[in-house]
Symmetry: C2
Subunit: 196 residues, 2 copies
């Protein structure tokens, strides 16, 4: 196929992104042909500087501008409560709400023996070294998430048997219809029902 190298390079670049197929990649590339060069330069700089201008926080291992990160160095946050998440994107989800006033710990993965990810591949040792009065396990509720939660709570109890370990509530999401809820969600919602 006769296609300019510059166009092909960018199509290939987009194709490497998750969830972008060959047709979307071509569509995005041809869209950018109509965008002013200033905008293209800005986008290119943003790509190039993404990792150059970010650091991993030494305390919570979130990706941030400074080390320690804004959240860990904020004296207004309760450092006694640590919310354990899988990925930096999960921190973003909590911060979007803006109601959580504790700090975080990003594991950068989850224990997944089928993909050769053991406890040493993720930031578990770093979590065990941290001081806290409560640990909130906010991992995704799939099989790997559940077993990582079990592993973590056992290890955390060994280090500090008085530590309060909690999990996120499971139940109906906001706006959900009861008739469309799956069995497991409804069972959770029933078991964890609260007085009105």
């Amino acid at each position: 196929m006769r296609i300019a190298r510059a166009i092909n390079n960018l199509i290939e670049g987009f194709e490497r992104l998750p969830g972008v197929g060959p047709k979307s990649a071509a569509r995005l590339t041809y869209y950018l042909l109509h965008v002013p060069q200033v905008e293209l330069d800005k986008f290119a700089d943003a790509v190039r500087n993404l990792k150059l201008n970010t650091k991993e926080c030494n305390i919570c291992h979130n990706i941030s501008e400074s080390d320690p990160c804004d959240i860990c160095s904020d004296s207004g946050r309760d450092r006694g409560i640590i919310c354990v998440v899988e990925q930096p994107l999960d921190v973003l989800a909590f911060e979007r709400g803006g109601r959580y006033k504790g700090v975080y710990h990003v594991l950068h993965g989850i224990i997944d023996p089928l993909h050769n990810i053991g406890p040493d591949e993720i930031k578990i040792q770093e979590l065990l070294k941290r001081d806290a009065s409560e640990i909130i396990l906010a991992l995704n509720s799939n099989m790997e998430g559940e077993s990582t939660c079990m592993y973590l709570s056992r290890k955390l109890k060994i280090v500090n048997c008085k530590l309060k370990i909690t999990r996120l509530a499971h139940g109906l999401p906001t706006g959900a219809d009861v008739q469309y809820a799956d069995e497991t969600t409804l069972t959770h919602a029933l078991n964890n029902r609260r007085e009105f």
Copy 2:
């Protein structure tokens, strides 16, 4: 929300692309945090050089590396047959098949009075100046496409009344089930039926 500026810049960059919402933009950005810097630099260069290393062909107005483009300067192609398309991406679709041996003319748009796009906003004058024995109108079959086709064929006939003007066939696409075909497609397929 506390989020590193470098991350925010890239999320905003992705959000400007068509079909990429805030959540996909964040997902793509956080994915790129795990990609080696060499790859990021390559992607950034591809974005920056997209327009710097491409030209618009003076004959067919396709986006290409050289002017005239590879296709227009290829002596193996029949310059008497011009396939008129809306966008450079349409040329790509034809070239993917590799069976078309004529040349192209990219209009860079379509007559669309509702969006203030008249005949002078797209490359119609440039088409009328070209020499050809056959013009294939390969515009999309929506209302704007149909009316642009009608406008073009009238104008082309004024310039050269012996010019052969054709349109792409309409009918069932390859692999389509008759039971799921819409009425218009089936009517086209019936009207244009061919002897077996």
